[in-house]
Subunit: 505 residues, 2 copies
């Protein structure tokens, strides 16, 4: 147990000041445990690490370490613990909420060289990989066995499994196949004290507190991941996709709720509004109906019989919900074309606007129509366009606010627009992030999402793993001072007693 | 933050001494916040609480509190925190590992009066219930909507959802439908400091550390549950059960591995050995083939087409694995009869032996045959019979060791027999508990299951929620002193580097 624990009364109150970190002393100590190729500290070498996928904010670190072995990770963490240096672990840097943004007085610990696939066990349907392995590379390695790794974030070509663990990443198919957590068996990591700890087990349940879900999605604040054991999933025999058009966004939202309420869990259930389909269509020619106010994409997978039955049920529900057109992919090429449009939504936004700001709120499915109408009103209020793509099946919104960072005030307006969307997500009974994490982007909104006892519980858990607060400080969990400044009165605490008849504390 | 935190160096070393607790002072304080009907402290009133389902060990508490509101739970916990009184929360007391066994200087906090079903939301497929609601009562309340609560521990008529959360309970169908955790959305609870905290959310993922899985299965050591929001599952259109006979236990074990390796996730996949079927058959007349060395029960559910396809695939795999007989239930009555035998295994053991000791190890599926052979050798070594029923699909063993507590030395022999089974489970790459929890029963084996860094991580997490160590002390997580005494040399630490080529710390 490290002795640097904050005393109880100060826990979670304020950020720690790291301005006393001595770069020369740090580099000297690191040079003793790392070969020169594993240690960057010149300005031009540090530049590629100054931001992650949230490029609006940039910050150079003092040092970047690129260890090649777990022993080196242990050494680096021990040195940083001793010198009280903040450490930011980093995978491919594709995160969208600034979780891997460097600390100005800190070290970036890149896991880029941990890229070995250590084992594919087809019989037990699992793979053991190092954290720097790309998400898609796992599926590619498993393909000869008829297996794949199910979670598929849009960035799956580039993003790494270590980053997926840190953010508990989702993707188009997570509605049916679960988030990263649901496809993990075991994570091996190193705490800030340099201890190697294994989280999870190969069994369905394991004794002791269940620390795997705690570490998963912890945004690099509890431990540095050095090895990941994932579940592999058999490739379905067949997948087919239904495209449905609606003349009204509320009807499309209601159709989503109806499909889920009928007990169907599609492999994917996505929604795009008219501005999004228009932006996409002229880019990838997916064949979307351009006169529709909204389209839904609903995928069924399984055996041919299962797919046929599910598609028939989905078609009936879509028609009953007022779809003006329902098309079923006739072959794999058409299915891929339907999805190509959805997957191109972000680049399409980048094509029609100099910049865009991708939001990530989650709301109850039945409020989708309401949210879309509110966003239309916000477009008028902020005089700024927003195109909408949703993981509709799980209520996860990705509104893309279009702006031009070179226009004075535009970025600020986009941020205010985004904050209002997130605040409305919480007010509708949802959350401020579906799958992109909190990072630095949404740390203020955490004050509205959670009440003080929950935020304190987060700080206590953090202190249990990292009492000195050196792992990724300033991310994901706001200090109580920050919440006081941000002003709870802005949104009010949204935590309500679940049942008004029960007493409220 | 309570100020009673242990200092870092002593964390997890030794049990705290509670002999200074003053019963009179405790009762006086509690009487100020609870009506007399909610407070028991006379010997005859305490007697029903002296043990849970692990009846071999009995211990009276000082006091039993039966609060009726969350406000009373808060008051009770604050009083106990102030007077440093250990608190053991209790549901129906059906647990099998002694998790709800009272502390001799402590208070039992019974949630028996929290038995309201607060909401069934059929559209969102969830139910909000108080912790004292019985597992089966949730399914009964959901039945009119075509829904049910999937986890089905054998004790589901009696056990409560609060206890299910504490133990992360499983059941015959958890192979397909998941453990308690996988069917939870939100848990509301009170910490030892009297703070009300909500864990989890209604969204697929929520920001902040994921504390729901941490609290689930924490055996009442982190918080007292006051409200649970569970997922409801649509009832399948059809279920059918296959009964297969084998002339060799190893072949039956291999068949289980073959079914799972083929990508089939049956709704249930259970195994019984010959002594178990013999004990059951003369009791419930399930129609099991008595000459078989082992039988498998494999259930398929879903649409009629899905069931027919899965049954055909399972039948082919069973035959290829050397089944001597394969029968498919022809109607619901026969299906229920097949299961009646399996579900009667525990009472059947009680019928042929004065006492039995139910073990709960989990091993990799492919080692099932090996384990059964080893248990046969142990029967000879200890001159004691053991009948075997397994949740084979997830490798969860329930060997029932038959003994007579009135015979001198018999209980001790049964415990040694059981410990050897658990140690072998760990050595085969498994764990010491599948679904019954650690409690006090398996706390020594935790020392073999986990290495010191993991046990320390558990203690740190515990201290984050309950720094003074008042919630269910002495359960689930062993102290380091205990591990030293138990002697790591007995089993050795089983944690191996996942890959020999990686450095070991």
């Amino acid at each position: 147990m490290s002795g640097n624990a904050p005393d109880a009364s100060s826990l979670g109150q304020a950020e720690r000041d790291f301005s006393q970190v001595d770069k020369h002393r740090l580099v000297t100590a690191l040079a003793r445990v790392l070969p020169p190729t594993c240690l960057l500290h010149d300005l031009e070498d540090l530049r590629p690490y100054e931001c992650d996928g949230m490029a609006a904010l940039r910050q150079l670190p003092l040092v970047v370490a690129l260890p090649e072995t777990e022993a080196q990770v242990v050494d680096i963490l021990k040195i940083c613990a001793e010198q009280a240096v903040p450490v930011v672990a980093r995978g491919a840097g594709t995160g969208l909420s600034g979780g891997a943004q460097p600390h100005r007085f800190g070290l970036v610990l890149s896991l880029a060289r941990f890229k070995k696939i250590l084992q594919i066990d087809a019989h037990a349907r699992r793979a053991v990989v190092q954290p720097g392995v790309r998400n898609l590379a796992i599926s590619e390695a498993a393909a000869p066995h008829g297996l794949y790794y199910a979670p598929d974030p849009s960035s799956q070509i580039a993003c790494t499994i270590g980053g997926n663990v840190a953010e508990n990443s989702g993707g188009v198919h997570c509605l049916k196949y679960g988030l990263t957590l649901h496809n993990l068996l075991k994570v091996r990591g190193v705490t800030m004290a340099g201890e190697v700890v294994e989280f999870g087990s190969l069994a369905l349940d394991a004794p002791g507190y269940d620390l795997l879900p705690l570490v998963t999605g912890s945004e690099g604040m509890l431990a540095v991941v050095t090895e990941v054991t994932v579940r592999l999933t058999p490739k379905p025999q067949l997948a087919q996709c239904v495209l449905a058009a609606f003349d009204d966004v509320v009807k499309a939202g209601d159709a989503v709720a109806a499909i889920i309420a009928a007990g169907i869990i599609p492999a994917g259930l996505e929604m795009m509004d008219q501005p999004a389909t228009a932006a996409v269509e002229e880019f990838v020619h997916a064949g979307y109906p351009l006169d529709a106010q909204a389209i839904l994409l609903c995928e069924a997978d399984g055996t041919p019989e299962e797919v046929a039955e599910e598609i028939a049920r989905v078609r009936a529900l879509l028609e009953a919900s007022g779809a003006t057109e329902v098309r079923v992919s006739r072959d794999e090429a058409e299915r891929m074309r339907f999805w190509a449009g959805r997957k191109a939504a972000f680049p399409a936004a980048g094509r029609i606007s100099p910049d865009y700001y991708c939001m990530d709120g989650t709301i109850p499915r039945k409020r989708l129509g309401e949210m879309l109408q509110a966003i239309q009103a916000m477009e008028r209020k902020y005089a700024m366009r927003c195109i909408n793509v949703f993981h509709a099946g799980d209520g996860n919104l990705h509104p893309l606010i279009l702006f031009d960072a070179n226009k004075p005030g535009d970025q600020h307006t986009a941020e205010a627009f985004g904050a209002e969307i997130l605040e409305l997500s919480v007010a509708l009974g949802g959350t401020i992030t579906g799958e992109h994490g909190v990072g630095i982007e949404k740390i203020n909104q955490m004050c509205g999402q959670f009440a003080t006892p929950e935020i304190l519980a987060f700080h206590r858990v953090k202190a249990a793993f990292d009492p000195a607060g050196l792992l990724n400080p300033g991310k994901a969990i706001p200090t109580l001072n920050r919440c006081a400044e941000y002003g709870r009165e802005r949104m009010g605490s949204t935590r309500q007693p679940a049942h008004p008849e029960l007493p409220r504390f």
